[in-house]
Amino acid sequence: MDKPKTFFNEMIGNGTPRAPYAKYGSWFSAQNGDRLAQKSQEAEGFFRRAGITFNVYGQADAEERLIPFDLVPRILSNSEWTKLAKGVEQRVRAINAFLHDIYNRQEILRAGVVPTRLIAQNDAFLPQMMDFVPPGGVYTHIVGTDIVRTGADEFFVLEDNARTPSGVSYMLENRETMLQMFPELFSQIKVQRVSDYPKNLRASLEASAPPNCEGRPFVVVLTPGIHNSAYYEHSFLADQMGVELVEGHDLRIVDGKIAVRTTRGYRTVDVIYRRVDDDFLDPLTFNPTSMLGVPGIMDVYRAGNITIANAPGTGVADDKAIYSYMPQIVEFYTGEKAILKNVETHRCSEPEALKYVLDNLADLVVKEVHGSGGYGMLVGPAASRQEIEDFRAKLKARPANYIAQPTLSLSTVPIFTDAGLAPRHVDLRPFALMSPGSVDIAPGGLTRVALTEGSLVVNSSQGGGTKDTWVLED
């Protein structure tokens, strides 16, 4: 890198800890490094024994890996968080309203705010969802908004994950681990609780049950199975909520409703928190070879006899081309300016933007419109000349498949290393729960950290780690 950048360090400003880190900083400076190193080892042992692992795709033997956990928390003040949470809530409400509109009257297209082709040519748009409103009008029961920071007051939304965002189990397990390792910290520093998340998730899913549901709604988590990369999280959430974890072959349609095979016979299911992608949900409607879903579930859904969370077709709201219109989308549905900023985004489908991107590949981050997990992207400043040229060819072949953004000067939070504290880039994924009445956001979220010095890629599939995220009481 030719031009050295300075990055906002969330812990240390002008050589002393910033206000949210004041108490932690003085605790840390009193610690013995060897003891912390030992604690760090213990944490790894705990994660291994508890089986908090993920499977890596594309490897011959389905090897399970740990997501490295760093013991230095990422700390936000209550006021920083309050503003963030408001921004996330606004954005989540706007996305839900957008989905309702897109699948019904399409006023935003008629008003010319979002180009029709972005919907019509979008693989994530499901015609099967047209003229149908899910129970309670909720499309996005769970949203994980990826947020990055570049300065004291500079927060940007990087991505709106409105399909099946993952990572919340790490938010919860990281906190449990910290409580076990450093109980004394939590008696000195008042941190807002995240442990209500499973209870709130269940309440939120129950509140979205079909109106004709009798008694307490029966909720299940639908997983693709033990070989899925996020299986641990699926089982963890089912366990924490106290609901059943099912696979497609446990479910079938009985008397027009979805039912699950229990030891006592088939029992009606009211709400499915599915961690199976749209495409695999119903082999009769979508991918006919899918063994992961339930044949005919879309008919049951449209008849109003089951709640699917998140609703099929929500992906149309979180791809990166739609993302570039989010400020307008927020304003269109809420009548307010967006509280959280968008990252400047060049849509390569537009000739002028494409030219700019091709001319500046070395300085930009280029992403697939439908990509996720850090796969298939180009980080210009970190790429070799060859990698840039290879990517240029791909970009020219299918420009509409890509968007480009400037490389942001992501904030850093220190991690604990053998040589002491060392700054690393982080992002933040708070988790929002939406039910017919309300939006509830767990205070904190998942902080992902790029463990390699200078790296901006925080994805766990690309060698990122995680931190406990604290929101202070005051």
Binding site: R48, R49, A50, G51, I226, Y231, S235, F236, A238, D239, V243, E244, L245, V246, E247, H249, D250, V260, R261, T262, T263, R264, G265
Partner: protein, 313 residues
């Protein structure tokens, strides 16, 4: 609970029991080959035969040596009954039924898998065999302890226990069946060295050699050993004990679920065949015929439970 979950629990505990039984069997073979035998090859052959895996073993090896047998039974990945394979399968089942297990039980199974995978990575040197077998037994005890100490006594627990006792009964019955020649009371052989070795092997295979001496007043002979292994309701690996435990768990399930239980009726019939009867009546019926029937009953009972509680579609 889900039918799939019930099946996962049942098979998970069958697997863990099988791992433990295999360790006992090898331990017995090892001990006898070291201390009593003039013909170690046939002792190791007997271990393979008892584990009912002669065909698969001979497809891979020509000779019966301690190294080959230990490798095959402990760590051969292509052998679905090797300890490594069954522990891996048990852990996969535990992941599948994670929500039905307490954290303690899950962590114990996961740790078992981690420890044994590491331990069985490389061929086991002769001097390391005892501690390897010890580790297998210890890990089993860890899981069992977590199960007893932390799980609710409900249908989940009952399915776990059914897996354990059906596998255990099957193992004990098979051991007796393989050795039934040696266990037939035949005046001409009584007291011969050969019989004594065989009997010790049988008792050691079920970790019953010590218990036998404490519990049984009578002399060390075939009839008493058969009586102990089959009919003694105090010995936790006897058929009578296992059958009673199977009945108990099926009965609790039947009370919980209501209605008629075919598998309970079948288990009660089996219990009738191995409790409260005289050992001489078994010899009259024919020891081999008797154990064959028990093995058949167990297979049928397993299938019945699977169907009654909807393990699969």
């Amino acid at each position: 609970m889900l039918g799939k979950t019930a099946g996962g629990l049942y098979w998970m505990f069958r697997g863990l029991e099988r791992a433990e039984n295999t360790a006992r069997l090898i331990e017995a073979g090892f001990r006898i080959a070291l201390t009593r035998s003039s013909d170690p090859t046939s002792d190791w052959q007997s271990v393979i035969v008892t584990s009912a895996q002669q065909g698969a073993y001979l497809a891979q090896y020509d000779t019966y040596t301690s190294q080959n047998v230990c490798d095959f039974l402990l760590r051969e990945p292509s052998n679905p009954s090797s300890v490594l394979s069954v522990v891996k399968a048990a852990r996969d089942n535990a992941r599948l039924v994670r929500t039905a297990l307490t954290t303690e039980v899950w962590c114990a199974v996961n740790e078992t898998w981690m420890v044994l995978t590491e331990l069985l990575k490389k061929p086991i040197a002769e001097e390391d065999v005892p501690q390897t077998l010890e580790a297998i037994r210890q890990q089993s005890a860890l899981v069992r302890g977590a199960l007893h100490g932390t799980m609710l006594r409900n249908d989940i627990y009952n399915f776990c226990r059914l897996g354990t006792f059906i596998e255990r009964a099957d193992s004990t019955a098979r051991i007796i069946d393989v050795k039934y020649h040696a266990l037939l009371p035949s005046p001409s052989f009584v007291g011969s060295r050969l019989d004594n070795v065989q009997w010790e092997m049988v008792l050691r295979s079920v970790s019953g050699h010590r218990s036998f001496r404490h519990a049984v007043e009578g002399e060390y002979n075939a009839a008493n050993i058969v009586q102990f292994l089959m009919l003694d309701a105090r010995f936790p690996r006897s058929l009578a004990f296992c059958a009673a435990a199977i009945v108990e768990n099926l009965d609790l399930l039947a009370q919980d679920y209501g209605g008629e239980s075919r598998s309970l009726a079948a288990a009660q019939a089996m219990l009738g065949r191995c409790a409260g009867r005289d050992v001489s009546s078994i010899f009259e019926e024919g020891l081999h015929e008797y154990t064959t029937q028990i093995l058949r009953d167990l297979t049928m009972l397993g299938a019945m439970i699977e169907q009654q509680y909807r393990f699969i579609q």
